[in-house]
Structure formats: structure tokens, C-alpha cells
Amino acid sequence: MSAQHHAVPEPVGGPLLNKVTFIAGTLVAIMAAILLYRFIFGLGAVTNLSDGYPWGIWIVVDVMIGSAFACGGFSVAMLVYIFNKGEYHPLVRPALLASLLGYTLAGAGVIFDLGRWWNVWNMYWPWSVNPNSVMFEVAICITLYIVVMWIEFAPVFLEKLGLKDMKRKLNKFLFIVIALGTLLPMMHQSSLGTLWVVLGTQVHPLWQTPLIPALFLLSAIIMGYAVVLFESCIASSAYRRSIEVSLLNPMARIMLGVVAAYLAVRLGDVIFRGVIGRSFALSLEGLMFWLEMACFIAPFFLIGREVQRRNPARLFVAGILLMLGGSLLRLNGFLIGYDTGAGFSYFPSLSEILVTAGMFATEVFVYVIVTRRFPVLPREAPAH
């Protein structure tokens, strides 16, 4: 079991107030002010939403894309515990922390956007729920998953607090939690795509397909790995730590395998449904389709070969491209390729953008504080 002798997680230490936390904290404060205004004066007072575009970036970016970015925990945990790749274990905790934050914020983001948020309990009220609704399934799964992730992450806090007994007890049934933590994101990440099936012909045929749940699931897994690449590089440079290239290189290879599967389904689908021709039309949709595809194809040229994958810069760029590709798929279906008829247009207001920025800033803020004070990142080898 030599593979299991990996670095033990340890707090990074260092000051909590620094340039990064200061900027992030400021953005969080601005977001709080805008949200206060929104709850007093209504959605129309701060957003550019309309009945033609009832969902803006708070839903599509903060929730749809934000939760897909938060799939790192799911993707890595699946690799370690389901595919029994124990060597990736050091990546689990940092990825899980980012996921935990991402999902908790996505859940909060939904509340900011709900026009009648005080009625939200109906989502969990057996006499109100509509099991036929895709959104109902998404909401239940995400809620459960947030709870599951807090339990999955609990050992970190228990370690810090020295509650070894409780941690040992938790470990006994952790495998159930891990299984649930793999199943739930599979369910809701695919369903986030199914959400637009009922929109019918309003969604451009390049995106409106019954295979959309499979595409969303595969791309969420890809984005999960891509985020781990991205985060590992950022954390290493910010904390001046060595990059875990020995882990990231083979993980990137697995990721490319999933990308290949995604591309096969994506291209096969548009060709089989006979709509590929629409992508060659000189239109915004056609352009966006190929931009989206390019983001998924380019990584094969960037990190296709073993030598290339040893280069952290290449891993970093490939990670960003795949995050962008998955984001474009979501953005294209829900906003750019969505057409309710003439007379409507949407571009987010400054307030909407600042709230979205504040959401990501919250994530950075909490991530820095937790990794500095709790055992999340693998301990640096003393040889350095």
C-alpha cells in the first residue's frame, strides 16, 4: 500500500489579512450592500432581467457555472474512492473545500434570485412539490449534496478540534457519504442541463437535445478536473509551494479521456440530429458553438503528450480552457442560444456583475482563511 503513504494535510499558516483577503473582503461587502438593496426594492431595481430573459448571470453564472466549477471535489473523490486511485488522495481535501464553498454559494445564489424567496419552503413541502419538475429534482439534489459535503469535509474540523473519537466514528460510515457524494452531483449536474429541455424550440437546436443531461454530466466532471489543475497552480504560486505535477500529469490524462468522450457525444449528437449545418451559418450562435468546441479541442494540442503535461503552465492554460468550454456550453444554451422572440435583449447590469464577482470573492476569502488555519493542503516535504 505504498501509494497510501502520501503527504499529510496541514494548515498553511500565515496572516489572515493580506492583499488577497482585503480585496476579496471589499468585493464581499459591495455584494452585501447590493443584495440589501435588491431585497428591499426588488429584482428590477438592480438587475437587467426581463420577461424575455428571466434568468441572468446570477442563475447561469453563479449557480449553473459556479456549481460546475465546484465539481472538483466530486471528480477527484470519484477518482480516489470509486476508481480506487489512492495516489490522488492529497488532492481530495483542497478540491472538496472548493466544492463545498462553491455549492454553498450556489445555493445562496438561488435565494438571491428568487422573486418570492419567503415561499422557498414549498420546495421541500410534500404537499407542494412537483416531482415532474426538473428544477425540483435539481433543488433537492443540491440541498442534499451540500449536507453530504459538509459531512465529507467534517474530518478536517474534527482534526483541528482534536475530536479523534468522533472522527473515527464518522470514518466508519464515510463510505456511504462518499457514495452519496458521487451519486448526487451526477444527478443534479445532468439535470441542470435537462432544465432547458422544457424550453423547447426557444433554445437553439445546436444546444436543444435530449442528450443534454449526458453532456452536462460529462462536462461537469471535466470542469471538476480542470478546476483542480487551475487551483493547484494558483495555490502553489500563492503559497510558494511546489506543484504536485506527479499527480496532476496522470490526472490530466484521465481528464482528456473524458473530454474525448464528451466530444464524441457532442459531435455525434449534432451530426445525428442533422443540425451541424446550423453551426456554419454566419451567426452569433454558430460562432459561439465553435468557440465552445475549440475550448474542448485545444487541450489535446496543449497537453496531449506526456512531456507537455509536465509543464505546469500548460496544465494551467488547459485547465482554464476547459473551464471556459464548459461555461460556454451553459451560457450558450441558457442565454446566447435562447430566444423568446423579438424585442428582448440582455446584458448584465453593473450590480449583477458585482454580485457575481462578490460570490467568487467570498469563495477566495473563505478558501484562504480555511487553508491557512485548517489541515487541508498537503504538507510540504521538508527537503525544500
Binding site: 426588488g42 432581467l49 480506487n84 418570492r116 422544457v198
Partner: protein
């Protein structure tokens, strides 16, 4: 090489959710059709004179405020349906606008309001059953006390009908409910009640469909009878004036009123009853002299997207069979792979 075998097992378990769809029972959900006693409207654009009496009556019946789009703020001038405007008459203009109901160099009117679909996307989309379809009369009803304001119904509707009140921190969804709040007093949809030409007619969708087809079969320019207000079924017409006193509710529950049928000439129709088959049919039906797509009625398939969406959901989650099976497989694999070394026994660095 046990790790390779485990990897394969894991791969099988993990992809179960995707490929398993084919192996379990696929519960395809057919597109629903109109309930037998479905109520609706028939809008005949060739009879509409664009007086907008229906818009004013709708505002009054639903207690909605006027909306201003002119500088003087004198008249209710909505440009589209909104959270406060559930019914609007829009105008089609082409070229010299010489002839009514002509596509070229003509003009025409079109009513926009809830179609009360047989298989509504908004009802399928709504996570909290705030949007429901009445099982008897098929009216798509809204309940603000349940609504969470997620606006999935707004996004889902192919006609762009449910609208949200963005200007109000307590905003609700606004849409036509066929004046169901007036039914208990024997009153029907206000728009049909006030329509001077019978362009908007209230009645059972089945009767309205028969009336629409009768008109399509007539020769343009010939003279025929056009009912106004509420379309009475043939059985009721025979009993007219025999059992109902004036102003009383008749045996069908509607307030009795004098027959306002009049004679007029048949318009030049496009041979299509809009709403007969679209999305499995709608309870509001439309006739027009101009191609429907040009007057803002989308070209829709005969099957509903609610059926497609629910087929996918029921296939993956029907009876929770597949999730439970996948969870079982995942639990089994995870139990073998979660190593005891995850325990911190003997690890240094705990007492920070």
C-alpha cells in the same frame, strides 16, 4: 493488478447513470390532450376591429394598474403582456396597410394571452405546484402563496405568457386565468364578455373548435351567423329561454344573457386552426387571415416539450430505481476503497 480491475468496476458503476437509461423501463410520457370539459376562447382575427375593449375589461376584471408608454401618461398603453397586463391586441402592419387581414400591403390584429395548453410547459416546469392545470376545465391556474418566484415558467412558456413583476419586491407572476375568479358568479372571461364583434368568444374548447372549423369551411365573402360573448352548446341553445329566467344562472352555471348572434361576411382565412394541434393542443384557439408566424404565433410541433422533459426525468428517476441501483454499486465500491489510513491514528501535526 487489482487496481486495474477496480478501475473497471468503478467505471461501470460510474457510467451506470448514463448508460443505464437504455436498460431500465423507459416510461415515455405522451403529450397530454385537452380534458373533455376544457374551457377556452376562440379568437377570430378577421372579426377583430382592434377596439381593445377586451384589454380594458381584462385590466378591470383582474384589478391591474394601467401601464404607460407615451409621454402624457393618459392612457393604458402596454406594448406587450406583462406582470400587470394579461391580454393585449397587437397589430400587424405591412406596406401601404390598405387591406385588413392581407399579408401584403395589409394590416391585421392578433390577441396575445395565455393559450391554456393541454400540456403546459409552465406546469411541468414549476417546482412547487404554484402553476397547475385544473383537471376539469383545464384552466392553467396560478397560486401566488406557493410561488417561489424562480421564473422557470417564464422561461419555459413558448408563447412568453407568464410574466413576473420585477418592479415589486413582493412581485408575483401575472397571467390570464380565463377570469376563473368570476366564474362562481356565473360570469365568464371579461374579454369575451365585452367583445363587440364576437372576435373573442368564450366556451368549451370542443365547441369552439367545431365553430372554428365551420368558419374555415365557408366560402370567403358569403354571409353567415357569428355568435358573440359565450358560445352556447347546441343542447343549451334549444333550451334557451325555456328554463332560465333573465339574469339568473342557467343550468350550465353561466349567467343567462340574450343571444347576440349576428350576421356577417366570412373572412379570408388561413386554413389552420391555431391551437388545435400545437403542443398537443391549446384551449384557446385562433383563426387568422395572415400566416400565424407573422402575427407572433410560434410554429410548434404537435408534441409538447413538457412530455420530452418528463420522459427524460422519469426514465432516469422513475421510482428512484436507477439512483438507488447506482448508489448501491457506488457504496459497494466505496466501501472497499475507503482505506483505514484515512484515520489519523498516530499522525503528527494534529495539535496546532
Amino acid at each position: 493488478m487489482s487496481s486495474r480491475r477496480d478501475f473497471l468496476k468503478g467505471a461501470l458503476a460510474a457510467t451506470g447513470a448514463m448508460v443505464g437509461a437504455g436498460s431500465t423501463v423507459v416510461q415515455a410520457r405522451d403529450t397530454y390532450t385537452r380534458p373533455p370539459e376544457a374551457m377556452g376562447l376562440l379568437y377570430d382575427a378577421t372579426l377583430c376591429v382592434g377596439c381593445k375593449a377586451c384589454m380594458a375589461a381584462c385590466k378591470e376584471a383582474n384589478n391591474n394598474p394601467p401601464e404607460f408608454n407615451t409621454v402624457d401618461h393618459l392612457w393604458d398603453t402596454p406594448l406587450d403582456t406583462t406582470g400587470y397586463t394579461f391580454n393585449i391586441i397587437k397589430m400587424y402592419r405591412n406596406g401601404t396597410m390598405d387591406t385588413k387581414d392581407a399579408e401584403v400591403n395589409g394590416y391585421a390584429f392578433m390577441k396575445t394571452s395565455c393559450m391554456h395548453c393541454a400540456d403546459p410547459s409552465c406546469v411541468s416546469a414549476c417546482p412547487v405546484s404554484a402553476m397547475t392545470k385544473n383537471p376539469e376545465n383545464g384552466i392553467v391556474e396560478y397560486n401566488a402563496d406557493k410561488c417561489i418566484g424562480c421564473r422557470y415558467c417564464v422561461a419555459a412558456c413558448p408563447f412568453g405568457i407568464p410574466k413576473y413583476q420585477y418592479d415589486d419586491p413582493l412581485g408575483r407572476i401575472g397571467k390570464c386565468e380565463l377570469c376563473r375568479h368570476r366564474h362562481k358568479d356565473g360570469n365568464y372571461s371579461a374579454c369575451a364578455e365585452v367583445c363587440p364583434t364576437g372576435a373573442t368568444l368564450f366556451g368549451r374548447s370542443e365547441d369552439l373548435l367545431a365553430e372554428a372549423k365551420r368558419r374555415l369551411a365557408l366560402k370567403p365573402g358569403t354571409v353567415t351567423k357569428f355568435p358573440r360573448g359565450r358560445l352556447r352548446p347546441a343542447t343549451e341553445r334549444m333550451l334557451q329561454g325555456k328554463e332560465d329566467g333573465k339574469g339568473q344562472k342557467n343550468r350550465h352555471g353561466w349567467r343567462d344573457e340574450p343571444d347576440q348572434t349576428y350576421e356577417g361576411s366570412v373572412g379570408k382565412y388561413v386554413q389552420h386552426v391555431y391551437g388545435e394541434k400545437e403542443y398537443g393542443g391549446t384551449q384557446v384557439l385562433k383563426l387568422s387571415g395572415v400566416t400565424f408566424e407573422k402575427v407572433g404565433m410560434p410554429n410548434l410541433p404537435p408534441y409538447s416539450s413538457a412530455a420530452t422533459s418528463e420522459t427524460i426525468q422519469h426514465t432516469l428517476y422513475g421510482g428512484l430505481l436507477m439512483p438507488i441501483a447506482v448508489l448501491g454499486a457506488l457504496t459497494w465500491v466505496a466501501k472497499r476503497n475507503v482505506k483505514p489510513d484515512d484515520d489519523d491514528a498516530g499522525k503528527p501535526g494534529d495539535k496546532s
